[in-house]
């Protein structure tokens, strides 16, 4: 700490140059925070996945439907504790941009499968009693300012009704929440029976099955057993863990992690060149001063540490400012986009990673000039001055 003033003064020796370098670091870490938050949203399902839940989908793709008749056969499979189903409804509220997940489900079986969803008994019973009833997650209710008792029209993009209508109306009977801060509640659940009765086509089908493995059973073996049941049938299945399912769902949008890595890689490579150049110039300009420090008794390692610290301080100033603004922006963006892409979140892991990156980039950008300063020969440097 006793060297901090010297380091700080050296950092601001050329104010414009340092400010521009800090600006480039700021932009890089602002981008880092935004991309990390989006990346987290895309892989959010993976993080909250339950290892004991398996998802059964059509072997061809998630879009292909499975017969409802599979339900009892899956339930009878060894190692399966319980099973339920869900289907992608794919509608929107009022305007197309208001898209979110709507799933027709069996209320009892579905809520039993997802105990992390909390809903009051009164609201849940009311939902079960009303065939056109629906429940929504707290995020959705907040987003659209819905209250229990509201009549919610959903415009379907896939499922038309037997009368040709595409508008489905639901009575909001309850609002549920989740204790897991990473989990999304930006979804609507309604009765599968209502869909089955009113839809114009594909009757007797569901989107996918969700099953819970018995305690002590091997999930891999159970998955194999389920797929074997329907092998060589017109609708073969592919069973995977919830995490693997979430990952494959995310991959529909491309390899987000790879895209983020490539963008950040390019940004940070440029950043290293910019800040490395700044540090090199800074050391070149004060060869004489560094020689004087060494003359006064500052050791090689102390000089190395001072120059490296200057580089790290520049990174930390720009990086923390970028991260701070990123955090503020993410709060706003998360609220605005809660309906389209829930779970946008700058995680503590990402923040710690960013700080580590700042220090690492500071070391990388400063190491060559710092070593040059360390190896400086006093007599030669003073003679040159």
């Amino acid at each position: 700490m006793k060297y901090f003033r010297l380091i700080w003064k050296n950092v601001w020796r050329k104010k414009i140059r340092t400010s521009l370098t800090i600006l480039s670091v700021f932009v890089a870490f602002l981008l880092f925070s935004l991309l990390s938050a989006f990346s987290f949203a895309f892989r959010g399902g993976v993080d909250v996945a339950d290892a004991e839940r398996l998802i059964v989908i059509h072997k061809v793709s998630l879009v292909n439907l499975l017969p409802m008749s599979y339900l009892n056969r899956i339930a009878a499979t060894d190692g399966v504790a319980s099973v339920t189903h869900a289907t992608w409804f794919g509608g929107y509220y009022q305007e197309q941009r208001n898209q979110f997940g709507q799933f027709p489900v069996d209320p009892d079986a579905y809520f039993a499968m997802y105990p992390e969803f909390n809903i009051s008994t009164e609201q849940f019973e009311a939902f079960k009693r009303n065939r056109t009833g629906a429940v929504v997650g707290q995020e959705l209710a907040t987003r659209f300012d819905w209250e229990v008792g509201d009549r919610i029209p959903i415009q379907a993009t896939i499922w038309s009704r037997t009368d040709g209508e595409r508008t489905w109306e639901f009575d909001l009977e309850g609002i549920f929440s989740t204790d897991d801060p990473r989990g999304s509640t930006a979804i609507m659940l309604f009765h599968y029976d209502f869909l089955e009765e009113a839809r114009a086509f594909a009757k007797g089908t569901v989107g996918w099955y969700i099953l819970r493995v018995e305690s002590g059973a091997d999930p891999v073996q159970v998955a194999k057993s389920v797929d074997l049941l329907f092998a060589n049938s017109p609708a073969e299945t592919k069973t995977s863990t919830e995490a693997a399912f979430a990952q494959s769902f995310t991959k529909q949008f491309g390899n987000i992690a790879l895209i983020v890595m490539l963008i950040l890689g390019a940004v940070f490579f440029t950043l290293l060149l910019v800040s490395g150049n700044t540090m090199s110039q800074s050391v070149r300009e004060r060869i004489n001063e560094l020689a004087v420090l060494k003359t006064l008794g500052f050791g090689d390692r102390t000089v190395l540490g001072i120059v490296l610290s200057e580089s790290i301080v520049i990174m930390l100033i720009g990086g923390l400012l970028g991260l701070g603004l990123g955090w503020i922006l993410v709060q706003g963006i998360a609220k605005q986009m809660a309906a389209f892409l829930p779970g946008i979140f700058l995680s503590p892991g990402a923040i710690l990673g960013a700080i580590g990156l700042m220090i690492g980039a500071g070391v990388l950008a400063g190491i060559f000039p710092a070593v040059k300063a360390m190896r400086l020969t006093i007599i030669e440097a003073l003679a040159r001055a």
């Binding site: 006793k2 003064k9 008794g297 500052f298």
Partner: protein
């Protein structure tokens, strides 16, 4: 003068310049008593700055030994020499070599950063050093806000702040006008006489050398006493 502070025995310094070897000092012997104020004069390239560098542990002899106090400098590692310099020797340069980003006070405090003194103690000692050179009222000024003579006074304060026994001055008045140079030299005399500092001063200026107790003439790598004070 109580004893010998620095002793050079059979010191040679040879530099390699391309394929050519240049002998700057040749089997030089020198004793500097504690409390001495010695001026070293000589033409450019005569080896006087090399001699100063050897005394300050900035360079090592090709042959011979350099002993200052109890320290055998020629056998010490670079890190040992760094520590030794911070405790035992103060440097004063022709062009002051103050750090432009620091105030006079912070410049003077620099050598104390290498000690275990508290911030308060460092500040106190830096203030005392500035008072000794008569610049207590310029503590908050940056080098660019000081005259050449004031800058050199700050440099002297920096050299004495850690209370070294030996001050090495390389052309300390070379960048100053006559009157200012005389003030600086008088200050060095005070440090020598009243504070007991041993001073070795390299200079081209015969008038400057008159402030020393004795003058040595350096030529072609050897030393001879020119006059005694």
């Amino acid at each position: 003068m109580s004893g010998i502070l620095a002793r050079l025995s059979g010191v040679s310094r040879i530099y390699q310049k391309g394929k050519e070897k240049v002998e700057v000092l040749h089997e030089l012997d020198l004793e500097i008593p504690d409390g001495d104020f010695v001026a070293i004069m000589g033409p450019s390239g005569s080896g006087k700055t090399t001699l100063l560098n050897l005394l300050g542990g900035l360079d090592k002899p090709t042959a011979g030994t350099v002993k200052v106090g109890d320290a055998e400098l020629s056998s010490m590692s670079n890190s040992q020499l760094s520590r030794w310099r911070s405790n035992h020797v103060g440097f004063i340069f022709q062009f002051y070599n103050l750090l432009p980003v620091l105030t006079a006070h912070r410049n003077v405090e620099l050598p104390l950063l290498l000690t275990n003194f508290s911030a308060k103690e460092r500040a106190k000692r830096a203030s005392i050093a500035l008072d000794i050179v008569g610049l207590g009222d310029r503590a908050k000024h940056y080098p660019r806000e000081l005259s050449g003579g004031q800058e050199q006074r700050v440099a002297i304060a920096r050299a004495i702040v850690s209370d070294p026994s030996l001050l090495l001055c390389d052309e300390p008045t070379g960048d100053l006008d006559r009157d200012t140079a005389d003030e600086i030299l008088k200050l060095l005399q005070v440090l020598n006489r009243e504070h007991g500092k041993t001073i070795v001063m390299v200079t081209h200026d015969a008038q400057a050398a008159e402030y020393a107790k004795r003058t040595l003439h350096c030529d072609k790598g050897t030393l001879e006493a020119k006059e005694a004070a």
